[in-house]
């Protein structure tokens, strides 16, 4: 499959500040790529470069094999960019707003009306067509932003924090909308701080910190990568320190920590059956109240891979 988005040693400096440093990214057609990183890590800069709004200081960014900066004019009809803030058009109503951008993409006449109506329906904004954009709620505005980038049917969607500051319902609606777009075959690059949702939506992720890409690849891979051995959470009714001493003596246990009476047991990677933990404890008179394997999710991966350094 061809890489729709590709960056090669992409570097962007603002004076002495290095926003991006040799970023190498590859996103395949139809992928939904979650871009994760602390504030100031370089996510927005990367998206802005890909949206042809910024010129790289060094390196190259390609969209559908066309180079940003050299072939920006050809790239622009292929992308749909949603910034982290909603561009204010206080004098327009929803339909005018969409028609305005449709006209900006060279869509005119009856075709424009049809497309705008279709997009309003897809994004469930039809009942708001006469409403002033400025009076919409934040969730509606974000949905309108998505509607805006759909009027010209782009191949690539660049979404910068589309779910930021949305209430739970609006976030869920946004996520469903993006899933629908993915089903439609769009290649999506989305930056967000809401990691569980990214895990649900994206098939690949990239983690960036201080302008450097720490990881890029499938979600399953990153979870596997951060998972060093199996971690089990064990709780006993009393004498947890004794239980800790007991379990730490077993050669299959690689390490054990205790927090508020809860034991976190790391077993060696080659151990498949962990029932020996319960057996040992019960045999020694402990009452086991809980035994469960700790889940490694995107949040865990993010916390383990990043240092929390903000530029």
């Amino acid at each position: 499959m061809a890489a729709v988005i590709k960056t090669i040693n992409l570097t962007k400096r603002y004076g002495s500040l290095v926003a991006l440093s040799n970023l190498n990214l590859e996103i395949q057609e139809g992928d939904c790529f979650g871009f994760i990183g602390p504030n100031g890590a370089g996510k927005t800069t990367t998206i802005k470069v890909l949206a042809t709004l910024l010129q790289p200081t060094w390196g190259e960014a390609r969209i559908c094999d066309m180079v940003v900066g050299f072939q920006s004019r050809q790239i622009r009809p292929l992308i749909g960019y949603v910034p982290d803030s909603f561009g204010a058009y206080e004098d327009m109503v929803v339909q005018e707003y969409l028609e305005f951008f449709a006209a900006a993409y060279g869509i005119h006449g009856t075709n424009r009306t049809k497309i705008v109506n279709d997009v309003l329906e897809l994004t469930d904004l039809g009942h708001k067509r006469d409403t002033l954009v400025d009076s919409l709620s934040r969730g509606m505005k974000q949905r309108l932003s998505i509607a805006r980038v759909l009027v010209h049917d782009p191949k690539v969607l660049l979404l910068d924090e589309p779910a930021g500051n949305l209430d739970p319902r609006a976030r869920i609606e946004m996520r469903e909308l993006l899933k629908e777009l993915r089903r439609m075959g769009k290649t999506i690059l989305i930056s967000s701080h809401i990691l569980p949702e990214l895990a649900d939506l994206c098939n690949t992720v990239g983690i960036i910190e201080q302008g450097e890409l720490l990881y890029s690849g499938p979600v399953a891979d990153i979870l596997r990568r951060v998972k060093s051995g199996r971690i089990l959470q064990v709780a006993v009714s009393s004498n947890s320190q004794l239980a800790q001493g007991l379990l730490s003596g077993d050669p299959r246990v690689a390490g054990i920590t205790s927090l508020d009476g809860m034991l976190k047991v790391v077993v060696n990677e080659d151990v498949q059956d962990v029932s020996f933990l319960a057996e040992m404890l019960v045999k020694n008179g402990f009452r086991v109240t809980m035994l469960k394997e700790e889940e490694v999710n995107l949040e865990t991966a993010f916390m383990r891979l990043t240092k929390g350094v903000v530029q």
Partner: protein, 691 residues
Amino acid sequence: MIAVARDIFWRLIPANPILLRIISMAGKRRRDMLIRCGYLGLLCLWVIFMLLAASGQTKLDDLAKSSAGIFEKISYVQLILVALLAPVFTAGAITQEGDSQTYDILLATPLSNGQIVLGSLLSRVFFVIALLLSGVPIFAITQIFGGVGLDNILYSFGIAAGTAFVTGAIAMALATFRIGTRRTIFGFYLFIVLYMVGLVLLDSVPFLQITGGAVYSNESSHISWFTGINPFLALRASMGDPSYLPPLAADLPAELRFWPIGWYLTSPHTFYITATFVLGMALTIPSVVFLRRVAQSTLSVRSWVLLKLRIIASATTHKPRYVWHNPIAWREAKTKASAARMTWMRYALIAAGLAGAIWTLTRFAHVEMPDKYIARGAFNTDQGMVTILTSDRSIEQTYAPGLKITLDGKAIRMSDLDGRYGVKDYTVASGPRKDVTTLNLVNPKRGMSLKEAQTYLLWMLLLEIAVVLIVITNVAASTVTREKEDGSLDLLLSSPITSRYYLWGKLRGLLSLALPLNLVPVASIFVFVVYDVFRMIAEGGQFQWVVFPEAIVVVPLILMTLTALGAVVGIEMSLRCRRTMSAVMISVAIVVGVVGIFGLIGNAIAGTTSWNWAPLVIAAFSPITVVSVIAAPAQFGGRVFDEGGADLMLGARIGMFIGSLISSGIYGLIIWAIYKSMVKNFDMTIRRQSR
């Protein structure tokens, strides 16, 4: 009681945390320091220059007079600077509701409404007041030689401080009642400038002056009905200028002596100072009372008023409009033009312009014929008869072969008479034939003389042109910066829209927006030209145009050129500047400066004593001069139009017409060059500002 009062007043001002923060920060900002240095430097230079100019004087009286002159001039400089700076520093208050992060936080604190409003108001006025106080030592120099009374100094500072205070209070009231948006800032600034300049101009209109023996013992002196409400006029009245002395109470007619009219007319400067402080307080008190109540409401006062007046149907919805092929042009022309404020302003300008033109025309068209008059064909040369008409009969009288005819005191030939003239008197020979030997004629008296009509029309045209130019420059200057500020520019730049398409759309949209506004002066001229054509047919030979008919071609051409110039300069600055405020200020200063300076030079060239038409061709490069000469040729067209014959005048008109065509072409080329340069450098300019 004392404790309560102390508590209230101590908290309101001296211990107001908002005010304290601003005062403790004052002087630390580089920009403030530069403005302060510039202001004081300008005052110092002015004083040094004036002192050097007066250095040859040795008599104490002369020195005192020089000192008074210096004081007068620096008072004006001070007032001009305050008038310019006060709106700049206070206008920011208008948008504080929009940029409400800090505003909302303040409202959520235990600070009282009074502390917030007064703190915000005084902190905004503080800089201007500090600027005024920093100039006190310079004013003190004028005291060395005497000649300036302490009361004059107090009046000068009082007028400047009152202006700053009332400007701040208006901005605060607009902010508190959520009447203003970002775009209101310039409207506010424009209103202040137009108010100050407009009333000074209206002060020179004789109709609005308070003058004459009934009021003044010194008949050469006058004030106007606006003196007490304009800082510059009030300052002039306080300076003891013999040509601008307020009347004494005893000189006023009895019906004008009552309070407050008597006070307003006899002491306009003290009235101004008091009125500005009272008005400032009157605006501040409702702000204090309603601050939190208004902040809690979901509907702004502006929307509420517009809804009630049915200017808008709903605060949040309207029927979608058709979007043009070029959406950028559509946005500039339609969404801004249809905003309620703009629509209101546009209709107000059109109505005021047309009403002014029709009023002037009606006054001019009103002819009061004397009891006796002659009409076209009054002279029967075959029979040697003249027919003198009255309202109910005609008198036929023979006239002597050497009949002497005068028109308004000047000798005139019979053949030159063509139209209706009043008969002032005539003499009859004593012989049996009773031939008329002398016939003194007068032009019929109009409700407004030709010169007055031309002056009124010219001021109306200049005011309308100034408003259109400033409005378009303002809209143009904010057009890209606002998109940069709110992030919508990024949306457009990531679309396939090219820089050429974008900028052309902006220019086209702005010109469409300006079109109805430009029609106001054109319509005013058209009304007069149509009337003049009928008058020419009726009056024939001695007819004089109120406005030359070529104005129908020249004025729209000039207006479109000026509008396009204002638009490109505005867009250029909007591209270069990061902030709307600086883009607007710079572009308005450039446009007004260039047009004003060209106007001064052009009027100086056009007003030469040359009989040649060539200076008028050169003067035509100043659009203001062309309008001035076309509307009031005798006043601004120099000797050719004042004293020249019909042939010379025709030559000069043709010269001016050709000159204005050439100059419009050259301006067009300049506009095109700026536009091309913007297109070429667009990406570079925008990219340099990217963060």
